[in-house]
């Protein structure tokens, strides 16, 4: 594997925002997720739950509810009182309509996706028509006091169930009248506490399922207004509830972090009588589970501890494989750290500010595994705060460390950083060219002479950086066939000849920088690209896909390399393919051209192309066993993947020079201490 001096960086104080709501695309393969900071993310089930799209949030915009309507259109509503439609191609809010009812607590689309219902603070339920190019207010339903916290359409689209405080109501959509009101806390005598109906679902059988703050999941007959079944599952509130499409399974999330599955099971074999039975409990979260979703094969839950947990339903699985494993996502599937190799600087991207750090250094050397004492401590150089409510889309620091660029939804900033001894001056570059904003990815060229800006419609802008502090737009590349989707990943070659860009439709285009023209496109592959990089020596483009496949594409020859073909023929190791998280960064060792360095959240890997690939019978993670083998036996056991799992969770890894690595870790315990205290629970034996 080679020996490296490793900077183990733990001062990136990222605290991911909690998950506020989840929405599964009906009959589709996507999951929309909204975080408490207003960010909206889209995960693609087909691409191994890859975080495909991220729409950064804004201080001014909270998202309380998300729903898919009219096919692929995503709507969000929040306490700002607006209903926002998101542009998933340009990754920004497309248009907003005021709900006119105060803060919006809930929103639901009907089964055909033609109508949206919102529940407002003032107790009104409003219907909106989904029309091409926006939504149109249709009418108000019967208004009563008390905020509407949750809504659910009957699958026939004729009725809406709405949960409020102490009460749940059923509306007739045609007449707009309340046709049933059910007091939820009627059965709890002598309790003066108010009972909040946190979540509701209307089943096609006419059963209304409600979950409330008393820890109950209740099944009601809406016509008679009677309680069919009541399950007390927790001593604290049941916050969220989701029903499978077949309506035979329900997942609920509680404020203790536990989720439970309910299943509709026949009471006796062969009889038609069925009953809801609480079956499996899961304790994946430490905090409130504010959002749950039920896909056809998995139970999905998101909590305030920022975790997205995908728990597959084993009985729905045909075979053991990637889909049959439990997944937990805490950190974003993209890079929030950029590194200035030469200047040994790290730039950390937070939601509303950037931090520039200088790495510490040491004079000492030591043996494998030793911790070296620092002679200079890591130093926090600059904190750049973005102005306005918008969150940062992307950021980058140049390899020389003297340029820092970031972009928000409406603004693009470029700074010139000058180091004079210990003092640092940051100067904003005036008069940046007007670009199509926002920028989705920024990448400086290796010589720090130019900046590539990934933009909407598949375009890449090339800015030339001028001394002592200026820039001009050199060229804008556009894919020859055009593309509606934004570019989300960039890679530039070390020699300044090539730049590769990946847009949201997963097409990879390679542009020639010398003659400013489109060079070629990498053959289309049916999966999302998670990372790519151009080899500094051979100019081969290495691509990592979300299904954990690796490709190597020779840019000069415009074809896959022999090694890549060999990998495709042999297939990768099963353990490699079943890994949890996507490769988020690829880099190379210029001293050792056959090495590819890649990492995901749980491992760092040196891929040695000169060694044979392991077959499925071999041990993939064999570094510790190799150490114990004698030299000649070790040679026989060697294979291409050299994996290190020492650094977890790994947010970023890069090679500073030929034997110096930087690893940015964010221990989960550090994140946990930043979260509010969870609900106190008595544990047996403590």
């Amino acid at each position: 594997m080679g020996e490296f001096e490793v900077h183990r960086v733990r001062f990136f104080g990222l605290v991911p925002a909690g998950v506020r709501c989840l929405a599964c695309q009906p009959r589709g393969g996507r999951l929309a997720l909204a975080r408490t900071d207003g960010a909206v993310e889209v995960y693609n089930f087909a691409a191994n739950y890859f975080q495909e799209k991220v729409i950064p949030g804004s201080e001014a915009r909270s998202v309380e509810a998300l729903c898919w309507a009219a096919g692929e259109r995503l709507f969000g509503a929040g306490l700002g009182g607006d209903i926002t439609e998101y542009d998933l191609a340009r990754l920004c809010p497309a248009r907003s309509v005021d709900g006119c009812g105060g803060p919006v607590w809930s929103m639901a689309a009907n089964s055909t996706g033609t109508q949206l219902a919102i529940g407002c603070e003032d107790g009104s339920v409003k219907l909106f028509q989904v029309v091409p190019g926006g939504i149109q207010f249709e009418r108000n339903l019967d208004r009563r006091k008390g905020r509407i916290l949750c809504l659910s359409w009957h699958p026939s689209d004729t009725r809406i169930a709405a949960g409020s405080i102490d009460i749940l109501r059923v509306f007739d959509v045609c007449s707009g009248q309340t046709v049933q009101r059910i007091m939820v806390n009627y059965h709890v005598q002598k309790v003066k506490r108010e009972c909040i109906v946190w979540s509701i679902a209307f089943l096609s059988s006419g059963t209304v399922v409600s979950s409330d703050s008393f820890g109950r999941v209740q099944f009601w007959d809406w016509e008679r207004g009677t309680l069919l079944e009541s399950h007390t599952i927790s001593t604290s509130a049941v916050l969220s509830l989701a029903v499978s499409e077949k309506e035979d399974s329900i997942i609920v999330g509680t404020s203790t972090g536990a989720t439970y599955q309910f299943q509709l099971l026949p009471v006796k074999m062969g009889s038609l009588e069925k009953r809801w039975v609480r079956t499996k409990p899961f304790q994946h979260h430490t905090h409130d589970v504010r959002a749950v979703a039920h896909s056809s094969t998995a139970l999905i839950s998101g909590g305030l501890d920022a975790q997205l947990v995908i728990r597959p339903l084993m009985e729905k699985m045909q075979k053991k494989g990637y889909d049959a494993a439990l997944r937990k996502f805490t950190f974003p599937h993209r890079r929030l750290v950029s590194c200035a190799r030469k200047a040994r600087l790290l730039l950390f991207q937070f939601s509303q500010h950037l931090e520039l750090w200088r790495l510490g250094s040491t004079n000492e050397t030591g043996k494998d595994g030793e911790v070296l004492p620092l002679c200079r401590m890591p130093e926090h150089l600059v904190q750049l705060k973005s102005k306005g409510p918008e969150h940062i889309y992307c950021s980058c620091v140049s390899p020389c460390g003297s340029w820092v660029a970031y972009s928000t939804a409406s603004r693009f900033h470029l700074y010139r950083v000058q180091y004079e001894g210990d003092s640092i001056s940051v100067k904003k570059v005036p008069k940046v060219p007007k670009l199509l904003l926002p920028a989705y990815q920024l990448q400086f060229s290796a010589d720090s002479g130019s900046l590539f800006v990934a933009s909407a419609r598949g375009s890449v802008h090339v800015l030339q950086l001028l001394e002592p502090g200026g820039c001009k737009l050199l060229h804008t590349f556009r894919p020859p066939s055009g593309s509606p989707e934004a570019v989300y990943l960039l890679a530039a070659s070390a020699d300044g000849h090539w730049v590769a860009a990946v847009s949201g439709d997963w097409a990879i285009h390679i542009y020639n920088l010398k003659c400013f023209k489109h060079h070629c496109a990498v053959p289309a592959y049916s999966c999302a690209v998670t990372a790519l990089a151009i080899h500094p020596v051979t100019n081969n483009l290495v691509i990592a896909y979300s299904d954990q496949q690796l490709f190597e594409f020779s840019i000069p020859e415009k074809q896959y390399t022999a090694w890549s073909r060999m990998v495709q023929n042999c297939g990768l190791h099963r353990v490699w393919l079943e890994r949890d998280s996507p490769i988020t960064h690829i880099t190379f060792n210029p001293k050792n051209p056959s090495h590819i360095l890649l990492h995901d959240v749980y491992m760092f890997c040196v891929l040695d192309k000169s060694l044979p690939l392991p077959d499925n019978s071999a041990l993939l993670m064999n570094q510790s066993t190799l150490k114990q083998l004698p030299e000649n036996a070790r040679q026989r056991q060697l294979h291409a993947f050299k994996i290190c799992k020492k650094f977890q969770p790994l947010l970023f890894a890069d090679l500073l020079d030929e034997n110096c690595l930087v690893m940015v870790e964010r221990p989960i315990m550090d994140v946990k201490t930043q979260l509010p205290l969870p609900i106190q629970q008595k544990k047996f034996g403590t």
Binding site: H231, I233, Q263, L265, V277, R278, K280, P281, F684
Partner: protein, 832 residues
């Protein structure tokens, strides 16, 4: 009747009550319980043992009510037979011989003529299979039932590991981490397993199983304390389960309520947990049940449940989880350190009971009389904790004083306490009189009172021997402390030692004048007045294991048993060895009421009993191979009245009975009676009743019926009705005699009917007798006609009158006749 030729070793009660799940009778009035080789029947209302049904030759492993006749009971035993009992009368109806060991028994309403049993798989060790046993309908009492069909293979031997689902649709069995469910109709076998991961709290092996009575739901208990509720298990893949977790250790047993709405679970926590609606959050507890729950069973009407505990206790709990009754058998502590002691007052056997308690166990009723808390400290259930334990007990001759020794086992120095208890006549219990801390510096090895019945109280002496090489003599003194509540207390009077040897045993002679104390290899004899060393005996090599003085005519002899397998008898007058025998004696027990001494030896894996008189070296009785287990302790318990024993050989058993305790904690005795004799039904007669639960509905109906019956002239109803009124003794006896032992109905009918008639006042007794004889002749011709006549006759008096005057109009002659019949049929049953 077989002559009492041989002496048999019989288990005498005290056997564990938790061999199988207990069964409530259909009306919940009686509780049936497997206990050793017997099936016991208790009254739920009074906790009394009503019946002991014996007949199995080995442990009873399962009892089940006959689903087609709730007055009958099936029982299975390791002897390979299934018996069908009429438990109301305690009479075996049929015996089915299966042939192989039966480890569990299940009876199903849906299977007409077969029961299910677990038997060992032939040819393989430790593998068992569930088979259905076809019970032939043939006549006769002893039947063969060899027609077995295997239902499930690879099941566990424990009866708790198999359960039958609703209406006998399926059977579920668990073993280790595997659950298998077999559907009878579809002939489909589904297997499920839980992961074998070991957690901190233990493994998740299955420990018990119960099936929901009306739904497709299986509850399983696990060794890590979890309860899983399986559903949808007719799908191989889409099965699902939910988990209930409260127990921190093994779930020992589970039971669903009758309707299946709640689930009861119990474990080593001694807490019965009631889970409502299969919810983790709705549960009730009945804590402090004393000891680990082994089995839970529900009555068929759901009003009662009962738990069987590891300490041989049955607790009856009513439906709202209130403690109702408890029946305590002999508590089997792991180590009986106190030995078997007989309380002179109650003749009860006294030994270690609950930790730190002394139990008084009544041998006759097989019930604990009471439990005396000696240690008076909270017992903490925790492994590895040194608990204070009772090690020695001695009673004075009249049972007035009780001396106990308790110690806390420490590595280096044990903490000892000697307590002396005075029997308080007022409270009828023992009261602590004196507590002596550290009476010896080492373990106390033996303790005895001077056994002098006729002497006054102040001559009472207690001697203790200790590992600290001394023996101490304790006497009562006047208490000088004015604050003391009692007038006397005990203090040390004399400390004796011999060459710094450890004192091991002590024993007083019958008249109390001599004290023998054994010091390792030497027996020393001391004068109990002056405490002078009189003489010493020894029989090297070998340390003295037991010593005792001879009694009555043999009081000049001292018997000792040594480690190296010698039994020695010394003559105290000549101070010489009278005789010795090569015998590895474990237990040496003199009979307090005769000269006989019983010695139990252990040689090559069998125990043998030798009974001898000290004056002659030849034993008067030898029983080789008494039992396979090692006998640890023995005791002679005086009989209430001397038994008449025919054979000369067994005369030593005339005045007292020998009980002994094996190392598997089984209490045994020797009996001269034959098997059949011991099995005669107990004298208690049970009221014949329709053993059906009384529901409000049936009460309502009954009221209606009664009105009808009063109007009508239905004979049967009237008879039932008459029973409630005070009957004539003859009719009562007739009604209370079990039906199957009565002579034929045609024979009884005229007498019975005559008894119902209101005799005319002018009719003399002689005439009635004549009429009876006449009518009995007539019955043989035509009984139907006869009944018509009686009905006709009964139409005349008004029903009210009939009820009132029914009472005692039976002539003496008729009574005599009936008695005669009863006598006849008893001899008839004993001939069976």
């Amino acid at each position: 009747m077989v002559a009492p030729a041989t002496l048999r070793v019989v288990r005498c009660g005290g056997s564990s009550l938790h061999g199988a799940r207990a069964v409530f009778s259909a009306d919940s009035k009686y509780l049936l319980c497997a206990s050793g080789d017997f099936v016991k029947m208790y009254s739920v209302a009074t906790e009394e043992t009503l019946r002991v049904m014996g007949g199995h030759a080995d442990l009873v492993t399962g009892i089940q009510l006959n689903p087609h006749n709730h007055m009958q009971l099936y029982s299975s035993s390791l002897d390979g037979s299934i018996k069908l009992w009429d438990f109301m009368d305690g009479i075996p109806i049929k015996t089915f011989t299966v042939g192989s060991k039966l480890l569990a028994l299940y009876a199903l309403a849906s299977s007409e003529d077969s029961v299910f049993a677990v038997i060992p798989k032939s040819g393989e060790r430790d593998t068992f299979q569930l088979v259905s046993v076809k019970l032939t309908k043939a006549a006769g009492q002893d039947l063969e039932a060899r027609e077995l069909s295997v239902v499930l293979d690879g099941v566990d031997a424990s009866p708790k590991h198999i359960a039958f689902g609703r209406e006998g649709e399926y059977v579920a069995s668990v073993k280790e981490v595997n659950l298998q469910v077999y559907f009878f109709k579809r002939k489909q076998l589904n297997r499920f397993s839980v992961s074998t991961t070991k957690t901190k709290s233990g493994n998740n092996h299955f420990t018990c199983i119960a099936c929901h009575p009306t739904e497709d739901c299986i509850a399983t208990g696990h060794a890590d304390g979890k309860i899983r509720l399986w559903r949808n298990f007719h799908h191989k893949k889409e099965y699902t389960f939910s988990t209930l977790h409260w127990h921190h250790d093994t779930v020992m047993d589970l039971a669903f309520s009758v309707e299946g709405t709640s689930l009861l679970s119990g474990g080593v926590e001694s807490v019965l947990v009631l889970w409502h609606n299969e919810s983790d959050h709705q549960k009730d507890f009945l804590p402090r049940l004393g000891s680990a729950i082994e089995y839970i069973s529900m009555s068929s009407d759901g009003a009662l449940c009962c738990t069987l505990h590891t300490d041989n206790r049955i607790t009856i709990i009513n439906s709202n989880l209130r403690f109702c009754k408890s029946i305590q058998g002999l508590i089997k502590s792991t180590d009986v350190k106190t030995g078997l002691v007989v309380d002179p007052r109650t003749k009860a056997l006294v030994l270690n009971g609950e930790p730190g308690h002394l139990q008084f166990y009544c041998l006759q009723s097989d019930q604990q009389l009471f439990s005396l808390d000696i240690v008076q400290r909270q017992y903490i259930h925790q492994a590895g904790l040194n608990q204070a334990d009772l090690v020695k007990v001695a009673f004075s001759a009249q049972g007035k004083w009780l001396a106990t020794v308790e110690e806390i086992e420490e590595e280096s120095d044990p903490e000892l306490q000697l307590k002396l208890w005075f029997y308080d006549e007022e409270t009828q219990s023992f009261k602590l009189n004196t507590r002596i801390n550290m009476p010896h510096d080492g373990h106390i090895t033996d303790m005895c009172f001077r056994d002098m019945d006729e002497l006054e109280e102040d001559s009472l002496i207690l001697v203790t021997t200790g590992r600290d090489c001394v023996f101490k003599v304790w006497v009562m003194v006047e208490d000088t402390d004015p604050e003391a509540q009692q007038s006397v207390s005990w203090s040390c009077d004399f400390v004796g030692s011999y060459h710094n040897y450890q004192a091991t045993n002590c024993c007083f002679s019958e008249d109390g004048s001599l004290l023998a104390v054994s010091f390792e290899e030497t027996v020393t004899v001391w004068d109990s007045v002056t405490w002078d060393l009189k003489c010493t005996f020894c029989h090297p090599p070998g340390k003295i294991r037991n010593i005792c003085f001879g009694r009555l005519t043999c009081s000049k002899y001292l018997i000792g048993a040594t480690d190296y397998g010698f039994l020695c008898c010394w003559n105290l007058l000549s101070c010489a060895l009278e005789w010795s025998a090569h015998l590895n004696v474990l237990v040496l027990q003199p009979d307090p009421l005769s000269e006989h001494i019983a010695a139990v030896s252990w040689l090559s894996k069998e125990s043998s009993l030798f009974v001898f008189k000290p004056n002659e070296p030849r034993p008067i009785y030898i029983q080789r191979n008494l039992c396979k287990e090692k006998i640890q302790l023995a005791a002679f318990v005086p009989r209430d009245e001397p038994e008449t024993i025919g054979s000369e050989k067994y005369l030593w058993l005339r005045r007292s009975q020998l009980f002994f305790l094996t190392d598997t904690q089984e209490l045994m005795t020797l009996s001269t009676k034959s098997l059949e004799e011991r099995l005669t039904p107990s004298s208690k007669q049970l009221a014949v009743e329709e053993s059906l639960p009384v529901t409000p509905f049936s009460l309502l109906l009954g009221k209606h019926r009664r009105q009808q019956s009063q109007e009508g002239t239905d004979l049967g109803k009237l008879v039932v009705h008459n029973k409630h009124e005070q009957d004539s003794p003859a009719v009562k006896e007739l009604l209370h005699t079990p039906a199957h032992v009565l002579p034929s109905a045609s024979f009884l009918c005229p007498i019975f009917i005559n008894s119902l008639l209101i005799s005319k006042e002018n009719k003399s007794a002689e005439e009635v007798v004549d009429e009876v004889e006449m009518e009995s002749e007539k019955t043989e011709d035509d009984s139907d006609e006869e009944r018509d006549v009686t009905e006709m006759e009964q139409e005349d008096p008004s029903p009210v009158e009939l009820l009132g005057e029914m009472t005692c109009k039976l002539s003496k002659a008729q009574e005599k006749e009936l008695r005669k019949i009863r006598k006849i049929d008893y001899s008839w049953i004993s001939a069976f």
